[in-house]
């Protein structure tokens, strides 16, 4: 087993058929297990695309991605789903919670396919809500929560299946400064649990605390 939990080798991503947009141009990187890594760079230069490829949300047009030593760039859609459901947790800038479900149910939904019993699913979801200090909001719907609370529910959801890797796309991008600090405190706590965290961010504060920092310009990576 490699010490690099995430490896990208000459990753290419091109959008469009007639008019081609090169989002990534030969990106290679290695991220060690348990590290807190940040990817920064101007908007539209390929940060989120890189994160999506690492997380198996999209497929590269060239190059390879290894998660825990396994090449995921050639995996079938179903196998990628299994990896997303087990090894990787996502946190999005716009929270992406299901509006008609409560905070508790949103977390439970992520465990729906992990073949856990309803009882242990609920117990785990409550534990995770407790971890992000939202036990009292278990039965609140997203419309009843503040931005910071929504992101904390999203973080709890990303941990539902105890993944090794958490991928976060601008996790504090939509938050006020107080909420940002709350969310960051939780992210750093999670990192202390030994999780590998990759954050795409514009925030200098977050980037300054990263163990590993990459910067993307025009689809090309620079190790800072």
């Amino acid at each position: 087993m490699s010490d690099w939990i995430i490896q990208a080798d000459k990753l290419e991503k091109t959008y469009g058929t007639k008019v081609k947009t090169h989002a990534l141009r030969g990106v290679s990187l290695k991220i060690p297990k348990g590290s807190l890594c940040c990817i920064t760079g101007p908007s539209g230069h390929g940060k989120s695309t890189l994160l999506q490829l690492i997380g198996g949300l999209d497929k590269p047009t060239g190059g390879r991605i290894f998660i825990d030593g396994s090449d995921i760039s050639l995996l079938s859609d179903n196998k990628l789903s299994e990896i997303r459901g087990g090894k990787i947790g996502f946190v999005f800038q716009s929270f992406n919670l299901l509006e008609n479900l409560t905070a508790l149910e949103n977390i439970q939904t992520a465990m729906m396919f992990a073949k856990t019993s309803q009882k242990s699913e609920r117990k785990r979801a409550l534990e995770l809500l407790g971890m992000v200090d939202l036990s009292e909001k278990a039965n609140s719907k997203p419309s009843e929560l503040s931005g910071g609370q929504l992101q904390r529910v999203a973080i709890a959801r990303s941990l539902a299946n105890d993944p090794d890797i958490l991928l976060m796309d601008e996790p504090t991008g939509n938050l006020d400064s107080q909420s940002e600090q709350d969310v960051l405190a939780h992210i750093f706590d999670i990192h202390k649990m030994g999780k590998t965290i990759v954050i795409v961010t514009h925030s200098k504060d977050i980037a300054g605390r990263a163990e590993l920092l990459f910067e993307i310009h025009d689809g090309q990576l620079q190790n800072v």
């Binding site: 179903n78 789903s81 299994e82 999005f92 992406n96 439970q108 939904t109």
Partner: protein, 388 residues
């Protein structure tokens, strides 16, 4: 959390759309239940009437059409066009066991239309296997009285000795028949000669019911009867098929109406599901990002369509049943249906009908959901999340 819980929450998310889509399939299934049951009930009623008549051969006037056949089966008013004198000649044919004349006349009691039947008392009693509930059956063919079916007795509150007036003449009720479950229960019977005299009819009857000792030789008997008189002669089966033929065309009409209603409901479901997919792209993306496979997304949408079918089927069955109960009296008053002669067009509740309705409803809904579910499952996580 399981898929069923997720699906139920999705269904109820937009309540008005849920209700209107459900109404579509409910109305479709309700028309299916009401219209098709009506066709079935009419068909079984006609078959029962043919059994009740108990004829092997029927001799009718020369006007020969399915509506006359239907009236014969139901024992309703018909023109008197068969000479009575041939009754004896037919009965004398070797192998014919009985020839029973019927003179079916339209009359009324307390302004309500009824059928009055002129009969040969002894022959009729033995052919129909009547038993007398009260009173005394006609002593001879010239008795100036009537026998009534049990339904007539109950409906008009008539007892032995009650007087009925036909063509200005009073007739005492001398016998009330035991209930038979056939048209006889709602008919009034009078000796043939007395009926002819009262209604001023020459020596003619409406039709003759013939029974034979060997049904395998029916065609031979028919030829022998046609040699005696130039009349229309048919077997009971021919009469039944002729009437069922009219019912067949009615059935097709009813099935088409029900079919159109079901197709409209199916498109309602497709429309609802396609709109739901468009609105829920982000949700599909979130589920895919958190580990849902394509098959799971497909199952979620198929389950949603199937639930529409299940609920629509249950409601459709209930509504169809209620509609048929409410509409039965109106339908039976319709000339076309009335001429087919079913006294009961309402749905009869049965487990097999319920299962058929539910099965069909769920099947239609699932088939309607296939394309939308396939479209939803084809979305990649990023397509779904990005396009919001």
């Amino acid at each position: 959390m399981n898929i069923l819980k997720l699906v139920s929450k999705n269904l109820l998310r937009r309540k008005s759309r849920f209700i209107f889509t459900l109404l579509g399939i409910t109305i479709g299934m309700a028309s299916f239940v009401a219209l098709l049951s009506m066709g079935d009930n009419l068909r079984s009623e006609v078959s029962r009437q043919a059994d009740d008549l108990g004829a092997d051969i029927i001799v009718m006037g020369r006007v020969d059409c399915p509506f006359i056949h239907r009236a014969v089966l139901a024992g309703e008013q018909l023109p008197e066009s068969v000479p009575r004198k041939i009754v004896g000649q037919i009965a004398a044919i070797d192998g014919i066991t009985a020839a029973i004349p019927y003179l079916t006349l339209g009359s009324s009691i307390q302004q309500t239309p009824i059928t009055l039947v002129g009969i040969l008392p002894d022959e009729m009693k033995s052919h129909r296997g009547w038993t007398i509930k009260s009173g005394t059956f006609f002593a001879d063919e010239h008795e100036h009285s009537v026998a009534i079916g049990s339904g007539i007795s109950a409906r008009f509150d008539l007892e032995i000795g009650s007087m009925l007036t036909f063509r200005g003449q009073d007739f005492p009720v001398e016998a009330i028949l035991q209930e038979t479950g056939s048209k006889d229960d709602i008919s009034v019977f009078m000796p043939l000669g007395v009926a002819q005299e009262t209604f001023g009819i020459d020596d003619y009857v409406s039709f003759i019911v013939v029974t034979v000792d060997d049904v395998t030789h029916t065609q031979r008997y028919i030829s022998a009867i046609m040699d005696i008189a130039n009349l229309s002669v048919s077997t009971n089966e021919e009469l039944l098929s002729s009437v069922l033929l009219i019912l067949g065309s009615l059935d097709i009409t009813l099935q088409l109406i029900a079919g159109v209603a079901l197709i409209a409901a199916a498109f309602g479901i497709i429309n609802t599901m396609m709109t739901a997919i468009y609105e829920r792209r982000r949700e599909i993306g979130i589920l895919r990002a958190t580990g849902s496979k394509r098959g799971t997304i497909f199952r979620i949408f198929i389950l949603e369509s199937g639930l529409y079918g299940l609920l629509g089927g249950l409601l459709g069955f209930a509504v169809g049943f209620i509609i048929s109960r409410l509409a039965a009296p109106l339908i039976e008053r319709n000339e076309f249906v009335a001429v087919l002669g079913s006294p009961d067009t309402a749905v009869t509740l049965s487990a097999s009908l319920l299962l058929t309705v539910l099965g069909l409803s769920v099947l239609i809904s699932i088939v309607s959901g296939l394309y939308p579910a396939w479209k939803a499952s084809k979305l990649t996580p990023m397509e779904a999340i990005r396009n919001v």
